[in-house]
Amino acid sequence: MIRFENYIRVKTVKEAYERNQSFQNVVGGGMMWLHLSEGEYDTLIDLCDLGLDQIEEEETYLKIGAMTTLSQLENSERIKEYFGSTFEDCLKHIVGVQFRNSATIGGSIVARLGFSDIITLLLPLETQLRFYSQGQISLQDYLSGKNQRDILEYILIPKKKKTIRFESIRRTYTDTAVLNVCGTKEEDGYRFAVGARPGVAILVKEDEEVLFGDNQRGSKEYRKHVYEILKKRIKESLEEETCG
């Protein structure tokens, strides 16, 4: 379990950023992942007083504070208005209601977990991230870049009424995914985000090759096979929706 000597609730994002420049300190989001780490730190920097827990609507995008919980996303009428039940369909598998009442969207992105359903869900939505120091970058670029000890403030999702579908295969209802896929139909064809490969999710076109690997949840071959099936399910479901 994580150990730290001091705890501070920062009052500004600037303060969080400055304190986070020391390798001896660590930022706490929902703490659900972090508390399992074996790290020993000087100070835990808690972001809970920064008001970053709102889902707001700007002219062209939904602006989601990094400390917004997975339950807030799951139950948000604003999100349902733009993306139907897809967020709910995706998030309901993550551990349980109690867990989702604490885990945050910001921590879910910064942790860059290979099995993350949330990253897979957000990739086809052209999600942008707003950091305190780096400014705005796409989620896709963030995933391939280095961790810069920055503070994630907002997640920006363009307000295009996109039809998306999320599918995953799990050994039990709330286990982490063996494979997760989120698809959407663009003007020039389908796009699929593929996660739990077991590496972190990537965004590909329909016929693009995806690299899979082995872990204790499934083999490379199994994942490859399952990918074709999930892709087919998503395409059929998206076609149904477009044809009414």
């Binding site: 703490m31 508390h35 551990v95 109690q98 867990f99 009442n101 604490s102």
Partner: protein, 152 residues
């Protein structure tokens, strides 16, 4: 560091290590309904309510719970007895270790939605693991509880 928590409407003050979890704190203060199951956010046995919402106390820092209303099963006796009787009637309790976590989740569910569908009950309780039963007893009990409230 010094903290002050509101537990079952009682003010509790203590000096703690900053990295102490709410679960450890509550058990030290003899709230034994809060169980230590996995301590890795997986089983639901340590569930408590924070401002009415169920959370896993093994994964919440005690210091972060300041300013919230914390409720454990010790403070929810009436609701727990009412729902618990239906679960017990279905033979769902075997060793009983998972029961307080289930009760906390069930109380939160029925407060949030007095008439949940069977599917909603299943999803809401999916974060609570039971090593003894096959969950069917808990499901039957909660469905019967919901149905008798409908007709009452």
């Amino acid at each position: 560091m010094r903290i002050e928590l509101n537990i079952n409407s009682r003010k509790v003050c203590a000096d703690i290590d900053p990295d102490m979890t709410l679960q450890k704190f509550l058990r030290e203060k003899k709230y034994y309904s809060v169980k230590c199951g996995c301590e890795t956010s997986n089983c639901g046995a340590c569930s408590v309510l924070l401002d009415g919402k169920p959370v896993l106390s093994c994964s919440v820092l005690a210091v972060r719970a300041q300013g919230y209303r914390i409720e454990t099963l010790e403070g929810l006796k009436e609701e727990a007895e009412e729902i618990g009787a239906f679960i017990a009637d279905e033979g769902a309790d075997q060793c009983g270790f998972c029961n307080p976590g289930f009760m906390i989740a069930a109380i939160a569910l029925f407060r949030e939605d007095p008439e949940p569908s069977d599917e909603k009950i299943r999803i809401y309780l999916s974060g609570n693991l039971c090593r003894c039963s096959g969950y069917e007893g808990q499901m039957r009990g909660l469905i019967k509880y919901r149905d008798q409230r409908r007709t009452a």
